[in-house]
Symmetry: C3
Subunit: 338 residues, 3 copies
């Protein structure tokens, strides 16, 4: 970390900025964040999960964010929060080094004459911006981003680096897109025609709402006719595949490597576990949780948690049990006959 400028905050200043009650020495100064077990006297840590309460006693952290109920008898400096994780998130953002992209267009960027780049926007080295595209106020494109034709990048939106918007993509405001993401590539539309595949033109676009986050190497395809849509505050981790004409409801969070097939609709405030699969043309209602690596094969109409799969076993036991899976139906039939 040598070479990065560090900020520093006194505990009293943090209490004020974050609107939290302080217990202990307001002059304690912290310059970075740390874990409860790893932080030193100049670092800020947090205790959110009561399971880790035992770590507090031995912590050398200068300041700790915690629930009042969890700091009984702890003599150190504490910022009291009803939700320590959310409070930590706000605190940590104070320490985050600000990006160094300068407003303006880097001389190595290639910008079409018909594109409109706001004077406050930053377009980094080796970016390409195509015909008819619009880059909003305060938007920032890191190095190597490609914005195709007829795309819109909303105010305050940041493409970290090497993001590709293919065509007809509309990103809202304050969207954050990580490297390698590809938004607006053709959906997978093919029709068998005289024993050959014929490509079905993909003519729709992609609409991404305000405050969404799109992970590294995630792909979101353009719609076949209508658009593919992410409502506001949707959070996608890395390597997720969102097929054409999917619609994802506001505030839904999806973990890495999830595959979502075409025309499926996912509700609001859903949580989809890593590497889950969701087949096409179904609907998942609001507030559904899907556990890791589950395959969702039909619509879900009741909020709650859903799963599929089998438990982890040593392979020898697994082979013995898995062989019986093949015989289940026969076994059931035999049993009923008796």
């Amino acid at each position: 970390m040598s070479g990065e400028r560090r900020l520093s905050f006194r505990a009293g200043e943090l209490a004020e900025r974050l609107g939290l009650a302080l217990r202990g020495d307001p002059s304690t100064r912290v310059t970075w964040v740390g874990t409860l077990t790893g932080a030193g006297p100049d670092q800020l840590a947090f205790l959110a999960n009561p399971r880790y309460r035992a770590q507090l006693a031995g912590s050398r952290a200068g300041v700790v964010i915690a629930r009042e109920a969890d700091v009984d008898g702890y003599p150190g400096t504490v910022l009291l929060a009803s939700d320590p994780y959310a409070a930590y998130a706000r605190a940590a953002s104070l320490f985050q080094p600000t990006a160094t992209l300068q407003p303006g267009i880097h001389p190595t960027a290639v910008v079409d004459v018909s594109a409109q780049v706001h004077a406050d926007a930053a377009v980094g080295p080796l970016c390409v911006i195509g015909a008819g595209s619009v880059i909003g106020a305060g938007a920032a494109l890191g190095p190597g981003c490609i914005v195709g034709e007829h795309c819109t990048v909303g105010a305050g939106t940041r493409l970290v680096a090497r993001v590709t918007l293919v065509a007809r993509v509309r990103l809202g405001e304050r969207v954050l897109v990580h490297p390698g993401a590809v938004i607006g590539a053709d959906g997978f539309g093919i029709a068998m025609d005289a024993d050959m595949w014929r490509k079905v033109p993909q003519l729709g676009g992609v609409i991404i709402g305000d405050d969404c986050e799109i992970g590294a190497n995630t792909t979101i395809d353009r719609g076949a006719i209508d658009d593919t849509v992410l409502e506001e505050d949707v959070r996608l981790d890395n390597q997720i595949q969102v097929a054409h004409n999917v619609r994802i409801g506001a505030h839904t969070a999806i973990a890495g490597c999830v595959a979502i097939a075409g025309s499926t609709r996912i509700g609001r405030y859903c949580l989809i576990g890593g590497a889950a699969g969701i087949v096409g043309h179904i609907e998942i209602c609001d507030r559904v949780t899907v556990t890791a690596m589950t395959l969702v094969t039909h619509s879900i109409r009741e909020p709650g948690e859903y799963s599929s799969g089998t438990p982890l076993m040593d392979s020898r036991s697994w082979r013995r049990n898995a062989a019986r899976f093949r015989q289940l139906d026969a076994h059931f039939r035999r049993n009923r006959e008796r």
Copy 2:
């Protein structure tokens, strides 16, 4: 879509171009495509799945492509097709805006002196073309594509943007490759040697047949000794992994996020569902369908549909049943003893 030029067609003109019978007013003019429920009077829609026949009555679409049997009593203008989806695919391609890449090499592209670029080919901004590579007539490389050494891009082939061909990759004619695809990276070959991994050099190439399509962020590794091969008209969706020395037969279509391990051979006219896995060193015969998220663990010698996995359940029921999976073999043994 403001700023894009729109074409327009009369119904009679579409009938003639597509070789379809017309019922209704040949002068009806359409300028874009739409869904049955969303299209307006200036849009072309289609009805392929009889399940959606009820939507026809309320459709405001100017022209509809449909089977004769499905339009009984519908008063609007119809193009009659025995396969409405394939006919729609052909119709929609008429409306597709043509790419604006100009033939020639963009001044910001870096092209090795020993590379051969056809005079009709287009090489977009910030592309790199390595030693000994050949770009064919009418081929188009969108922005940011990297073509390594000793690669061939066939006539009429299009790399949309930011595609990487690493080395010894041969793309046929009319191939379409979407952004983020990496073709020709080293296969995963390692040998344990004195408690360390030793890399096994990957010296083969990749051969992609004519009319293939390769999805966004899909990876196809070069062979270890021989080549990795996709025969003609293979269609790969996004985020598929094709390991070294795989061979995929002509006209096979593979949905997103499928993982195919090394040296496996897949037949012709296969359909592989999303997020399926296929282990290495096996053979799948022609006309096999694999359902989503299935793991193919052994060779398949009979055409047909194959699956693995367990059904979706609410997590509480799932946990109860999954716990029993561990006890299956013991249960079967107990039962036989009785």
Copy 3:
């Protein structure tokens, strides 16, 4: 392959270089590698798996690397090795064309004034190197690589092409990273705060040990507070997702499309099969093998092989058996009652 320079070796020279005993004609000259069935008289092949012994008799390979026990009666020229696959790996590396990157910084690269690039390092066309980053001796960045701020690329490390190091990434020596890999993107940290997601700043880095290999389009996120760590000689295939604060032990090899959730620790000398999933906050001890597409849902404390899933079946049989999975617990309860 026209245009690539080919080396050639006599069998006696190979025996000497590789430290292997020779049987047959030391003057036999080979210019490339081949498979047992495909190699011609000027090619070097190997026989590692005794299952393929029958292929030896008909092989036209000029020289074969094999175990003494497997070449009984074979009249051709043989290099005898106790581990033919590892010996082949060493032999094949002699034939591998050397990369043509020249030391120095390509004029189209954009290098921050505060970055340090060793005089022996090669920085290819259209690379970007950010503030405070260091590129070591003999390191090579192929075309289109982006190195963010405060990153280190160790001596002899090679980024093949279009690799992205986002920020605070430290690569050891002799690391090999394939195209499309994204190392150091933000981990997926979000906290619900007043019905909106709030981003938890990701302030840690990524540390990659010496001799690691990172596959195409693989993503390795930076830590939330502490670093994400790969120890030395970790081998990752393509499209793997490594979440924030994961730690992977030395000499572990992971096949394509594996998803590893946050804060999980994987031991040394583990082998993780393709498309497996590993949930967060667990520990896997040394020398664990996980079979393809298994979901690891809890810590593993004993070396050995682990699995989950169900066997592959034709879909009709599968549907019948899978339906019974839903009834397993009820069935067990009924049975005990009897």
